[in-house]
C-alpha cells in the first residue's frame, strides 16, 4: 500500500522530468534522458496500479505531474509565481491526501475482486 504510493510519487517526479524534456531538450543526451524518464514513470505507475485502483493512480499521477511541472517552471525557468497557482497546488495536495487516507479502506479492497 505505502510502497505503491511511493511508486506514484517517484513516477510523478520522472513525469516532471520528461514533460520539461519535451519542452526544453536540445542535445541527444537530454533527449535520451527524456525518453528514459518517460519509460521509468510509466513503469512505476503500472507497478503502483497493481495495488491501488487505476483511476486513483492515474488521477494522482497526472495531478502531481502537473503541479510539479508548474513548480519546476517557476523555480528553474522563471515563470511568474502567482497566488492562484499556489492555491490550486494546495487544493490538489489536499485531494491526494484524501485519496491516500481512504485508499486503504474502501478503494483497494473492492478492486481485489
Amino acid at each position: 500500500m505505502n510502497r505503491s504510493w511511493i511508486f506514484i510519487f517517484v513516477g510523478a517526479f520522472f513525469e516532471v522530468i520528461w514533460v520539461i524534456g519535451f519542452k526544453h531538450a536540445e542535445s541527444p543526451v537530454s533527449w535520451a534522458a527524456t525518453i528514459v524518464s518517460l519509460a521509468i514513470s510509466f513503469y512505476l505507475i503500472i507497478a503502483a496500479s497493481t495495488r491501488l485502483p487505476v483511476g486513483t493512480v492515474y488521477a494522482v499521477f497526472t495531478g502531481l505531474g502537473t503541479a510539479g511541472t508548474v513548480l519546476a517552471e517557476m523555480v528553474l525557468y522563471d515563470e511568474p509565481v502567482r497566488l492562484a497557482k499556489l492555491l490550486l497546488i494546495a487544493l490538489l495536495l489536499a485531494g491526494i491526501m484524501g485519496l491516500k487516507l481512504i485508499g486503504g479502506s474502501s478503494a483497494s479492497t473492492e478492486v481485489q475482486s
Partner: protein, 104 residues
C-alpha cells in the same frame, strides 16, 4: 479539426488507462499493446491539436477527459470503489490540475 483531434487525444488516453487496468488483470501482450498504442496515439493527436489551439485550454481539456474517463472506466468495468469521498477527492485533484493547466 483541432477540436476533433483533441477529443480523440482524450479518448485514446482513456484507452491507455483501460490498457493499464487490463495489464493488472491479464498481464498479457495484448494488454501492454492496448496501453502503449493508446498513450502513443493520445500524444500524437494532442500534438496535432496543439498546432492551432491555445496550449492551456488544450492541455486542460485533454487532462480532464483522460482522468475523468479513466476513473469512470475503472468504476464501470473494473469494480473500483464508488465511495463519494473517493469521487470528491478525484474531482478535487482533477479540477486543480485543469486549473493549473489553464493558467500556466
Amino acid at each position: 479539426m483541432a477540436w476533433v483531434s483533441l477529443f480523440l487525444a482524450g479518448m485514446f488516453e482513456v484507452v491507455g488507462v483501460l490498457g493499464m487496468n487490463r495489464i493488472n488483470r491479464d498481464k498479457n501482450v495484448k494488454a501492454f499493446i492496448l496501453f502503449g498504442v493508446g498513450i502513443t496515439l493520445s500524444f500524437i493527436f494532442l500534438s496535432l491539436a496543439l498546432r492551432s489551439l491555445p496550449m492551456g485550454t488544450a492541455y486542460a481539456i485533454w487532462t480532464g477527459i483522460g482522468t475523468a474517463g479513466g476513473a469512470l472506466v475503472g468504476m464501470l468495468f473494473f469494480g473500483e470503489s464508488r465511495d463519494w469521498r473517493r469521487l470528491l477527492f478525484i474531482a478535487m485533484v482533477l479540477a486543480s490540475a485543469m486549473g493549473l493547466k489553464l493558467i500556466s
